[in-house]
Structures are given as C-alpha cells and as structure tokens.
Symmetry: C2
Subunit: 419 residues, 2 copies
C-alpha cells in the first residue's frame, strides 16, 4: 500500500465503522466478514473493537480466488448444500445477537467467465442458509453494517487504465472520501449527516403517503405504500434493535418498503447493475399489479433473467430509496461498480425481499401478517439505480394531497425547508 | 516473495502435500486450515485439489495477529467457550470423513507476552472442541496432514539477524528442502522415502518388544510397550483409514504409543520446546510407574508446569518416536523452532494423549479397552525432543532378547541390514 497516510486513514475508517456505524458497545460480540486481502482493515477493526470493550470478536474470512475456483469446479449438488457452519452461525446470531460487519471488496469482473447457473445455485444456497440471521437483520433487530474495501480486482474494474497498485490507492482514496473519513472529524461528520438523514426520514414518514409517483426519462411508475409505512434512514437506525446503528457506510439514502401488490408502470435503470460479479446494463422493467410482466437488458439479459426468475418474490418490489444527486459519492464522479456506493449516488429500487422495519409494527409481525401488509418475500434482494437529474417525485396522501418531494434529482424546497 | 522460483516450488509443494501426503482421491472433500498470509500455498492446494477431482474444498482461515489480540483481550469465560462452529465441524468430520490439511506457520515468539493462563484456557477449549474429529484422526480413521509454511514471524524467529523478507525466503528454502520438494522428483522422493519408513516400522513391530531401554546424556529411561504394539511410520499410514496417507511432511519418525503405566527413570530434552509460542528449554522429567513425579526447566518452568498439570493424563507418556540423526532436517543444521520439523530431526516423546492406532485392534477399542491396553488419554499431546548423537536404544522382548536399535543416534546395522 503506497498511500502515504494509509495506516492513519485505516484506523480512522475502522473507528468510523465501529463508533459511527455499528455503534460498538462494551460487552457486545462483533463478527467481521471479509476477504483475506483486507487484513489491515480487519485487524484495525478487531483491535479497536476490543479496545471498545467487545465481549468477543470473530472473523469469518473469505477469498475471492478460492471462491471462484469452487464455483468453477464444484457440482451443483455441492453448491446447493449449505456449509457445515451455516446452521450453527444462524443459531449463534439468534442467541447472541452480535454486531455483524460485512466488508465488501468484490469488483464486477471477479466472477467473470463463471457459469451464471453455478452462481445462481450458490447464491440461492447462501441466501437460504441463514433464515434466522436474515430475519433478524431484515427486521433491524440485529445490528449490521456493510462497508467497502479496495481489492486489486475491484480497483482494476474501476480504474482499468491505471497500474493495479495505483488503482488500489485511488479506490481507497475514494472510499475514505465518500465515507466522510478523509476530511474534518469523521465522527462529527457522521453525527451531523446522520441527524439530517434521520430528520428527513421522519418528515416523509409523517406524511403517511398512499403512493409515490416517480417520473424520469424512460420511467413512469406508481408505487403504492399504504398508510402504515416508515421511512428509514441508515443514519441512526434503531427500529427494533437494542441500539442505534448505521447499516451502510457510506449512506445517503432514505428508504421504505413498498406495498408489493401496488406497483404499476415502467422503470428504466440509470446505472449498470453488478450482480455477483456479472454486469447488467441499459435495462428496464415493466410492472402490472405489482408484478414484473416484462424486462429487457441490452447487456446481461440472462443475468437479469436469473434475478427476476429466481423465485416468484423476485418479480415484485421490496425497496424504494431516495437519494439526491448532490452527495459526495455523486460528486466524486466515479462509477464504483458496487451497489453499496452506486446506490448511494442515486435513487434506487430493489426487486425481492422487503423490509419488515419499513412497516409500523412490522418487526413483530409473522410472515402472514407481513405479506398482508404488502411486505414482499423472496430469497433475493437486488438493488438497481433509477436516479438522475431528470427525476421528479411526488408523494400522494390518502386524501389526494400531492407533496413534491424531488425535482431534477434533488429534494424540493418544500422538504428541505422543514428540516 | 523474492525467491526466484517460488511459484514453481509452491506448486510442487502443493502437489507433494496432496498426492504424496493426503493422497487426494476423486470425490473426497478436503479441508485446509491455514493463516491468511499463506494464501499462495492455500490457493495452489485448492486449485490442485479440484484438479484431482475433489468433491469440495473448504478453507478455515486464521490470523496470528487477530488470534493474539483475542488472547490478550477476551475474558476467561469467552476463551473457555467453544466457537459457534466447533460442534458443527466435529459432526461434519464424522459424517463426511474429509481430508484435513493443517498448514502451520507460527513461530515461538508469536504469542510472546501473552498471559500463559489465557493460552492454557484457549488451548484446552480448542482441544475439547472437536472430540469426534480428534478421535477419528487419532485413530487414523480420518486422513490428515500437517505441513509448514513460512510466515514473517516464524522466519524472524529462525533467522533473527536477517531482514524479514530474506528470512522468509530462507525459511521457505529450508521447508522445500526438508520436505524433499526442491531436489529430484518430489513424488518419486516420497515414494522411496515412504517405502523405507514403512519397512522399518514393520520390522520393529515384528519384534513385539516388551519394553525399550533408552540411554543418553542425562537420560536413562525404561518405556514399557506390552506385546501388542504397532510401530507406525507416517510414510503411508493406512491403519484404520480408507486409504494410505502421510500425516506429516516432512516426516522421518517411526513411532508407537507406550504402555503409559510402565515408564520409569529420567529423560532430558535435547532441544527447546515451542509450546503455543512459548519456549521451554533445558528441561528434564522424572517418571515413576508411568507418572511424572518431578520436572524442572531452566527456561519456561511455568510453561512446562502448564503442560504437565493441564490434566492427570498429561503426567503420562503418549508417544515414543525414533528418528536417526542422519536426516535432511538434521543435515540442514537449522533449529526450526517448530515441532513438526524439529521432532523429525530427533527422537522424541510426548506427554499426554496416546495413539489408539499404536495398538493392534486399537482403532476399534472403546475408551475403557484403550486404557486397559495402556493407551494414555489426556486433553494434551505435547512432543519434546530427546535425540542426540549419544543416544543408544535397545528393544527387549518378552523372553528377554535384547535387540540393539540405535547406537550413537543412528539405526544399528542389525536393523538397517534387514530393510
């Protein structure tokens, strides 16, 4: 690593993840999932978590190269079988309610050339492997956070014309900048930012919109909400959890879970989608009564099909998220080719699993009640970007009041003036 | 890594481990335990295992720095609790009977400064965590292998006066040489070597010695065997396993499990003992009716105490191993400060757990029957070196015939001429 102040920034980044992000408290167990080439960050996280009084710190390591060779060589049966530790991990999460830090460092080319069917089987197995953990994190009951870390593979995807070590440095710089770590006081930055996100979410929730009207180039979509939605910002999620935490760094979004039965119209993606290392680009989806009835992609049609056709629930929306275009990520001008970053440069939607936490009392509902409340269920949850400087959004209340939310990709004055 | 042919040697080393060592067969699952800084070796092992038709390849990663910070920070209660995946792993081993490759890369200074009590608790927890797996590997029913890999920490311990990267290169060179990888055809080397080890073991077994007389400077020890012992060489263990395999690379030893009730006299170690990163040096043990009744070390007395006093079984012998002084390891002139290597430079004994496979029908005996047959049980199994060029060994049969086995640290002609 040649970035001159890399060690200092990694320490600041780890502090931001643990204190502003997962909100590490004494006596809490923290689990870190990361690839082995992220050892500097993981070691800093581990040391600082202990210093903050962690009860235990557990690292679940992966390796991109070994993961790829497994996909290339293992039989469908093996890929379809959950790992020996999966059920035990699931039980552990239910019993201990640990913090869970996911360090993501995979670029879209990581699995290039791997049979998409193999990836599908493997992803389905992984998604199904932790039902309790997924329910806990999905409902916001178990604190979790996703953060980025520059790998050689990802850095090369983002900066294909640079020598790899330079690309890694550039990508780390961009991560530190967009994560508000490399300027000012990172913890103060996050205190201010989280406060603003939280206020905006509360304001949107207070309207109790019946539906959202979403218009942009190639997009004309009506998204039903029902009168019981909560708008969530990642800036200080508390919901059903024992404490506040920020589940994404960076995060700029304010989101809720739509009524998956009430989505109609067409929506056009504005950025490519990196799905498990495979690219989908230039694509649109058509919805009728909530269900995707048509989809087409200029690039990666078969990948898009593997998402939508994964199960019935993948044909419906699970998430609606608002992000203005004036964020550090968008200002960086980079296409990160990683959803964590690119979704926070842009409004986005997700097909698949919805968020119980997006509904009042949702975290305490059983599966049937969640379904009745319009919270989608699927083994999938795949975000795609739909924001641009052409986006206009209105919220419509049950008695027909129309509230302008976005104009030309930014919060309207009507919203901004109330914060 | 600056060793010019490192990549080529790593590939040869991986091939040696998989083909000469664990004897990877199509359809077998292989598990690799290694630290994250051994990625080049682990990736080569993984790729070659797949190429040999593995059903699955599973890597269990560790990290020395994170492991140390856990020992320094976690409470006794946390260190005393088995990890969430331990029982699942144990069941998996019983169900699948996988190959298990341990890649060892810890130098003695790795845990320097860590409270020995913490290490003791942690080791006891780890030892107790996999009763089924230990029983399977101990009885030779599940194929396993231990191999070495140069870490910066270990290399610095072995070559403290060299710059670290140079030390790592030198240590890799020594590993490749002593593992018979860097000269000739590694697979042919191992075929010849394993054949010779196997013949010697069979010859010793055929004598059915009642006991062994072991004499050297500071050592005068009688070790009972009973008439039902099998001498095992690591060169082509089959025992109760589904196939032959070599559980240590390098390996030079021929060993059996003593009758733990019948050991008398005094034995003086000839090399330091690296126990979980802590050094014991210049030490001797006194046995009466099998039990250690006195022990003293000039260096690391408290570490030696933590071994012997770990449980009752740690007071008794579990292993007796013969290694002549004319081996590549001894010829290398290096003190590796790792038991895997140093024990194969030298005759050694182990306190603690014995090997059921060292007794005829042992693998099928229950715990009580094993105890009656004199196979020691303990949570510990700790080797220490007792060989030198002064060592004379005789085997004594039940009818009093005395067979000279070693003179001045080498096989006697009487033995060598029968191979």
């Amino acid at each position: 690593m040649t970035l001159p102040n890399f060690d200092e920034l990694i320490e600041k980044y780890a502090a931001t993840i643990l204190r502003a992000g997962i909100n590490q408290q004494p006596g809490e167990t923290t689990i870190i999932q990361a690839d082995i080439d992220q050892a500097p960050l993981v070691r800093a996280l581990s040391a600082q978590a202990w210093a903050l009084g962690a009860r235990d710190v557990i690292v679940r390591w992966g390796d991109a190269e070994i993961g790829k060779s497994r996909l290339e060589n293992a039989s469908d049966e093996v890929l379809g079988t959950t790992g020996y530790a999966a059920a035990a991990f699931d039980d552990f999460c239910e019993e201990v309610n640990p913090n869970l830090i996911f360090v993501k460092s995979s670029g879209p080319s990581e699995l290039a050339g791997v049979d998409i069917e193999k990836i599908k089987i493997s992803n389905r197995t992984a998604e199904a492997a932790q039902p309790k953990r997924r329910k806990l994190t999905g409902a916001g009951k178990m604190p979790w956070i996703i953060v980025g870390a520059a790998s050689e593979n990802w850095a090369h995807d983002v900066f294909p014309d640079l020598p790899v070590s330079e690309a890694v440095d550039k990508l780390w710089e961009a991560i530190f900048f967009t994560s508000r770590v490399s300027f000012g006081d990172p913890l103060k930055n996050w205190e201010d930012h989280a406060y603003k996100l939280g206020k905006t979410a509360d304001l949107l929730t207070s309207y109790q919109f019946d539906h959202i009207l979403y218009r942009a180039e190639g997009t004309d979509l009506k998204i039903g909400l029902g009168g019981d939605r909560i708008w969530i910002s990642a800036g200080g999620m508390s919901g059903a959890s024992k404490k506040e935490y920020i589940p994404n760094i960076p995060t700029e979004e304010i989101f809720t879970t739509p009524d998956f039965h009430r989505v109609d119209g067409v929506v056009r993606a504005t950025k490519p989608l990196n799905y498990s290392g495979n690219l989908v680009d230039d694509f649109e989806l058509t919805f009728k009564d909530g269900r995707v009835v048509d989809y087409k992609a200029r690039v990666g049609q078969e990948v898009l099909a593997s998402i939508i056709e994964a199960d019935e629930g993948a044909h419906f929306l699970g998430e609606l998220a608002l992000v203005p275009i004036d964020t550090p990520i968008n200002e960086s001008g980079l296409l990160f080719l990683m959803t964590l970053f690119d979704e926070n440069a842009s409004n986005h939607l997700a097909v698949g699993r919805g968020y119980p936490a997006g509904v009042i009392a949702g975290p305490d509902m059983n599966d049937e009640e969640l379904r009745e409340a319009g919270v989608n269920y699927s083994s999938m949850h795949v975000d795609f970007m739909v924001g641009s400087d052409k986006t206009d959004i209105d919220g419509v209340t049950a008695d027909g009041e129309v509230v302008p939310i976005f104009r030309n990709g930014k919060w309207t004055d009507e919203i901004a003036n109330q914060l």
